[in-house]
Every structure is written in C-alpha cells, then in structure tokens.
Symmetry: C2
DNA sequence: CGGCAATTTGAGTAAGGTCAAGCCTAGTGG
DNA sequence: CCACTAGGCTTGACCTTACTCAAATTGCCG
C-alpha cells in the first residue's frame, strides 16, 4: 500500500499544502491563485457511512469536494427502486459545478465515513474563472464525467451482468490508480454488493452470483473492504475491455499513476 | 403546425437573423457580440439520412450546431451491439464543447437529412468566453445534458420496457415543445423503431410490441414520421411521470413554448 | 409493378428477478 | 471472554420479462 494516500481525519488548514488538491478540478491552480483568492469560506464537514449528504431537490449553498472516503450520487424512485448514478471518490466534486445554484436532481449519500471541503459557490466560481488553466481543467473534468456517463449508459443498455460487474471493477480501479490509490491491482473497495447492484441495474442476488463466479475462478479476490485483481487478462476479456474502450480517462494523463 | 419552425434548406448568411439561434447555447449573445466576433469561419454542411457525420476516434476540427433535422450520438461495440446515447435536435451542439479538441468517444449519425453550422473551435471558444451570459448559458446546457444522461441511466437501470418507451416519447415531446417544434401533443417523429430500441437497450421486436400496446389503447398515434399524444394522462401514468421527475429541462424557462 | 426496408406477429428460450432460508462475521453488552 | 444480534452474504427453487429466430405483411420509392 506504499503509494496509497492515507488522508488524516481532517483536511489541512490550507488548500495549498493539501495532498488531495492534486486530484481536484483546481489542480492547476498555483500558489499565486490561492494567494489572491484563498477560498475564504472553506468549511470542513464530515459524515458517517450511509448518511444523506445532500438531498434531492435541495439547493446546496456550497461546492463540495471529497477529501476522504467514498460517496454515491443516487436517484431514488417513489416506489423504492434506486439507481446509483456514479461513485464520488477523493478529489471529486460532489456536485458538478454547472449544476450549482439549482435544485439538485439527485441525492448524495456517503458509502463510507466521508470528509468534505465546502466552498462558497460565488467565490469558487470567481476562482475557477480566474485563469484559463482552471477553465481548462474544469472542461477536462466535464468531458471525463460525460464520458463516464456515456459508458454507463452503454453498459446498462447493452451489456450483460458479467460484463457490467467486471467493467465496474476495472473502472473503479482505473480511477483509483490515477489518484494514486491503487497499486498492483489492489485497492480499497468499501462497496456493499447492494451498491454494485444499484449502480448496475441488477439485484443483489445476481451481483452475488456474478462475483462468486469471478472469485471461484480466482479472477478477483475481495473481502474486508478490499479488492484484488488476481487475473487481469481474464478480467479484461470478460469485460470486453478492448484498448479502444479502455479510457474513461477520469483525469488528465499528467496525473496518471502509471501505464 | 402553426408554431413549428419550418427551417429553410440552408441556414441564413448571418447568425444574428437565424431562427435557430434562439435554441442554441449562444442564445444569449446580442448583436454586439456578433459584431465583434462574427464566427468568421462558419461553414454549412449537410448530410442525407443515416450517414455518419462524425466518426468515433476522430478529432473534429469544428463545433457543430444542428440547424435542421435529427441526429444521434452512438456507441458502436465491436460485436455489432450499438447504443444511442442521445438524440441531437435542432439548436443542439452535436459535440459538447468540453470535449472539443479531443478524440470523439462516440460517433454521430444522422437520423433524417440534417443541416449543420460549423464553427472553428478556437473562435467559438473565444466567443463563448466573451461574456458572462454566454458562460452562463453554456453552464445551463451542461447541467441539462448531465440531467438528461442521469435520467437515461435511471431508465436503463431501473425501468421496464413500457416505462422506457413512454418516457422517451415524453422526453422528446418536452424538448421539442421548448424549441417551439411541438404543439397539442403533436410533433415530427422521424425515429425508426430500431432507433428507439438502440436508445433504450431493447430489441426492435419488443419496442414494436410496446408501441402496439400503446397504439391499441389509443394512448399514442404515430406513423408517417409523426407522433401524437392522444391520451396524455394515461401516457404520463405509464411513464411514472410524477411532477418531480418531469423536468429534464433541456432549455431555460425563458424559451418554453407553453405550459 | 417490383423490390427493399420497416413493421408486425408467433412460438420457444434464457437471463435475470423474486421469494425464502440459512449462514457468516463484526460489533455489543453482559 | 463469550453469547447475542444485525447487517450483509450465500444458496436454492421457481417465475417473468424481454430476447431469439423465423416468417408474413405493409409501405415506400423508383
């Protein structure tokens, strides 16, 4: 676990020295940007696992960045069905900036214990518009999110359970690796099978059978909140992970941990 | 069909007087903006139905706006499966601006005959950054697209065929209505059943049975490239179209045709 | 009028869902 | 230190939705 970021319980006082900043949408901001506009109203908030961080319909007063822990953007239907739209990992914006100031079209719930940094929307917007590099990284992140959504649409529309599950594992590993939070195919994996089911449009029963099949062939190993890819080529083959499809590129190449 | 925009075969010479401009991401640009930066390199391009407008992997040299006709963003898998990510209607950006300059992660194919306006990327970017109002409408459009993607993810992950089909019809009617291209529940509907199937992750056979059921109960009427919602409340009930869900708001209220 | 694309219908099948138990395992409290 | 519990995981039996394959029909266009 050498390269894994072990974030302290609370974020540091200044963004400038923050480990997580390198993973954020303002990663390209230099010292001078923070000198001019130091995110005066920054708050730190934290939640236990399985709490509602933001509720569908509310108008958030702040822009939130995940400092540590995992969360999920969720749509809850009236009859109890629920769909996880995406998982939110350290460094990610909890709510895309474009949506800020409007009623949320989804809820955000913590998967694990989560620590967040919250910035006042107006100040954050001004800050993000203060340099072309920042606008550029915002655009990159938008593009990556669109691509991730599109990928999920293809998965749900066209792929069977085995493909969906294997692709989710590879997607998460890719994102974590780019954040320096996965190495040698091993990473924290706090999702319950119910999270996987809700994200992939399957039932927990079927997710269980699918994971069991993968574990039975020793393609993956999991448990105790961790996941290990034991046979990557088999996993990629099952996922239909042809090189062409393999780039949901959730972060710019500059930050790629390896490969 | 009084309020329907009947666009001439070719776009007018100037954006300023263009009917379709009101539907675009630069709808908030005034005469002065065009005076300063009149999209010098604008081109007009048109395609017959069922042509590939942009190919997966290519790096488009221009930003395209649909002037007339329908297109679809499509992911084609190696084994022949295909998923339509979204339909692109008049006034819509063919490729989101954030993705510009990078290899396309999908193809764009025309559904009907389509006329496009193409702008040089650099000039368009400069133009869009020239006013806060423009940045604002870009953000609104991003938010609307994210919401539309999220909605599709919920549909594919959680909803059955009847819900998916009815919701697609209502979604398209809503978008067209806001563009002034639908009235009294009647609108152009050039999609083949195969388009619907590819968008909703179903087979054409099953789409056919679902549509037949709706037509049999006289909830919708269709054919000859048109659709009519004959029994809106029944349609909305089948779609689970509770008021809360009913706003994929693809354009700002200011442009709403009615309601 | 002939031909091709699209739609429609039927019969059989399979992937994944539903329902219902039973089984771990990490905490908790005695 | 151990029994108890609750949440999560696992497994079995059966069922439903949507898919597959195949053929017939319709409609459009030259």
């Amino acid at each position: 676990m050498s390269s894994v970021i072990l974030a302290p319980a609370t974020p540091p006082a200044s963004c400038l020295g923050c480990e997580v900043r390198k993973l954020t949408v303002y990663r390209t901001a230099g010292a001078e940007a923070f000198a001019q506009s130091p995110f005066v109203d920054r708050l730190r908030v934290s939640f236990e696992a399985k709490q509602t961080i933001l509720q569908d319909g509310e108008v958030p007063a702040h822009i939130h960045i995940v400092y540590s822990g995992w969360a999920a953007r969720v749509k809850q239907l009236a009859d109890g069905r629920r769909q996880i739209l995406s998982f939110v990992l350290p460094g990610d914006l909890v709510v895309r900036h474009a949506t800020a100031g409007k009623p949320l079209p989804f809820s955000v719930r913590s998967v694990t214990r989560v620590a967040l940094c919250a910035f006042e929307i107006g100040a954050f917007t001004t800050f993000m518009r203060s340099s072309v590099a920042l606008l550029q990284s915002a655009a990159e992140d938008y593009a990556a999110e669109f691509e991730q959504s599109d990928q999920r649409i293809v998965d749900l529309g066209q792929r069977d359970a085995m493909e969906r599950v294997t692709r989710l594992i590879l997607e998460l590993e890719g994102r974590l690796k780019r954040k320096g939070m996965a190495a040698d195919g091993k990473f924290e994996f706090p999702l319950r099978q119910e999270h996987i089911a809700d994200a992939l449009g399957l039932t927990t029963v079927h997710v269980n059978r699918t994971l069991s099949a993968l574990r039975g062939k020793d393609i993956i190993r999991y448990g105790h909140g961790r996941m290990e890819i034991a046979d990557r080529s088999a996993l990629e083959r099952l996922a239909g992970w042809h090189a062409a499809t393999a780039r949901p590129s959730a972060a710019p190449e500059a930050l790629a941990a390896s490969r």
